[in-house]
Point group: C2
Chain length 320, copies 2
């Protein structure tokens, strides 16, 4: 069994390659070639019942593929106070022939960040926008940064409007993006973001909506990334209910704990109001008019096929 350290992983995974791998993975899943078991989810609660961390294992296998993958990723947001990274984890690559471990990708959660951002870029790409359109980013963490980077690079969208918890955070985040060559502007409200952007991505660990229905006057394509485990929520369920098109990466997960599910549980949407994001990418819904939709949404909770896709990219690049 080989141990692949983070720097070796980062050397061989580029944004475009990650997006391409994840896109092909989603399409293979849509075509029935990949199996994903239900994830394992561990929630860490304070004595008062509030969440302070979560850890999940996601897996995927495909007939004829040499490897299957079990990915472990954790998010402990109090780590920031301790000056430790909130996200962590590793990816276990195993032989589909023998079940033996082949490699541990010691990625500290980086591959999860990359495959999640790749999904965001793909989610942005299904919304045709004008060449002058802007992107909105709510959140100021690693995932928000990667979403801004990958979406602008993949779609060609240039201006980015950002918003964090406070003005200081928003300004600092905009500066970080500017340093990375991205045309970023801090804003003071989600309303201001929606006034400026055609596409908005939410990438926070919030347990309360960061994007309210009142924030959205005109047209918007929402990419909801943060609510990936029970107890998290980013989008006002009343806003979700206004979306005429909703694509989910996993119907079951998004009903259970995604933003789509929050609207379903409040009785604002029927449980069958979504389509499969994988099917959309596979071209199986040519009738869906994302260009014309006033409000559309992609709800991403993260699925094993993304982990399989990006880990396979690493293994192939490194000839493990």
């Amino acid at each position: 069994m080989k141990i692949i350290p983070l720097d070796a992983i980062q050397r061989v995974v580029t944004g475009p390659d990650a997006i391409d791998a994840v896109r092909k993975g989603y399409i293979a899943f849509s075509d029935g070639l990949i199996e994903q078991p239900d994830p394992l989810q561990i929630l860490f609660k304070e004595a008062d019942g509030s969440f302070f961390g979560d850890c999940h294992a996601k897996a995927a296998q495909g007939r004829g593929l040499p490897y299957f993958v079990i990915k472990v990723a954790s998010g402990f947001y109090r780590n920031i106070e301790k000056r430790l990274l909130p996200n962590s984890g590793l990816v276990l690559v195993m032989s589909s022939e023998t079940g033996h471990p082949v490699a541990v990708l010691q990625d500290d959660g980086w591959l999860t960040q990359m495959r999640t951002a790749a999904a965001g870029a793909l989610a942005a790409s299904i919304k045709p926008v004008l060449p002058t359109a802007a992107l909105g980013v709510i959140g100021t963490g690693t995932q928000a940064f990667l979403q801004a980077q990958m979406i602008t690079a993949f779609t060609g969208i240039k201006p980015v409007f950002v918003k964090g918890r406070g003005e200081l955070e928003s300004a600092a985040f905009a500066e970080r993006l500017q340093t990375a060559g991205i045309d970023a502007t801090p804003t003071t409200s989600a309303h201001e973001i929606c006034d400026n952007a055609a596409i908005v991505v939410t990438a926070t660990p919030s347990s309360e909506p960061v994007l309210m229905s009142d924030d959205v006057i005109g047209s918007i394509h929402i990419i909801a990334v943060g609510a990936d485990s029970p107890g998290k929520l980013e989008i006002d369920p009343h806003l979700t209910a206004r979306a005429s098109l909703i694509a989910t990466d996993s119907h079951v997960q998004c009903v259970h704990h995604g933003d789509f599910g929050a609207a379903v549980r409040e009785g604002l949407l029927s449980e069958d109001a979504d389509v499969s994001f994988c099917d959309v990418l596979a071209g199986k819904h040519p009738d869906l008019d994302f260009a014309g939709a006033e409000i559309s949404m992609v709800d991403l909770t993260g699925v094993g096929v993304q982990d399989l896709a990006i880990a396979s990219l690493v293994v192939n690049q490194l000839n493990v």
Copy 2:
């Protein structure tokens, strides 16, 4: 993150320590101190739908414990034809405070074997038997060997009657046990085992019963270890239905894919016919008369608390 190789793990885990750790873990679980999420289960099927392997991840955490554990174990039984070990895996130890990986126990599935055998020894210990009683073992693999070793050492039972797929396998297995100092005798049928033994343990990867109702004339305490994933079965459901006492390590898992569940699904037993094995070990069922029961059974499918218990033993012994 430390990588702990198998030989270092094996140096610090003894049978008695494993049994003690697993016993305390079960009792802590019974007392509500441990949480176990639903396992992740990956099944590998041939084109005709038959299983050729499985891999699962099991996890457990406890409030106040420094670590939580995610254990990955696979069983690919065709490996034997390739002269490879059928079982494999590793144990991931993570910080309950930060979610960061602390250690990878590169155990190749050995800790899973040990904690499973420890459970068998505890399952045997709840059946009071005469000093002259014998143990029966059906199966000839690593787990069958460890069950014979741990049960005899822990309970003081001496004679062991064994049975494999054929006479050659039974004889070879008895010889292996004899070399390890165990008074083992090969038999030619499960019926012969049950005629001789007060306790029988089944530890095979079988998908069809290896112990039929007709095999049991007198009294027997059955420990069913092998049926740990869908598609596996060891005990004739009609025999399970004859048991007056059934303890399960996980009601949900044993209903879903254990031998208990096979009898429930055939309508031979009601779903509430079992008690918690953890509760039995915690002394919460002093009324249950295992000594007087004609037929009793412990159905073991394997739970995360066992993995947490044995991995914590390793981590503590090695001062990781």
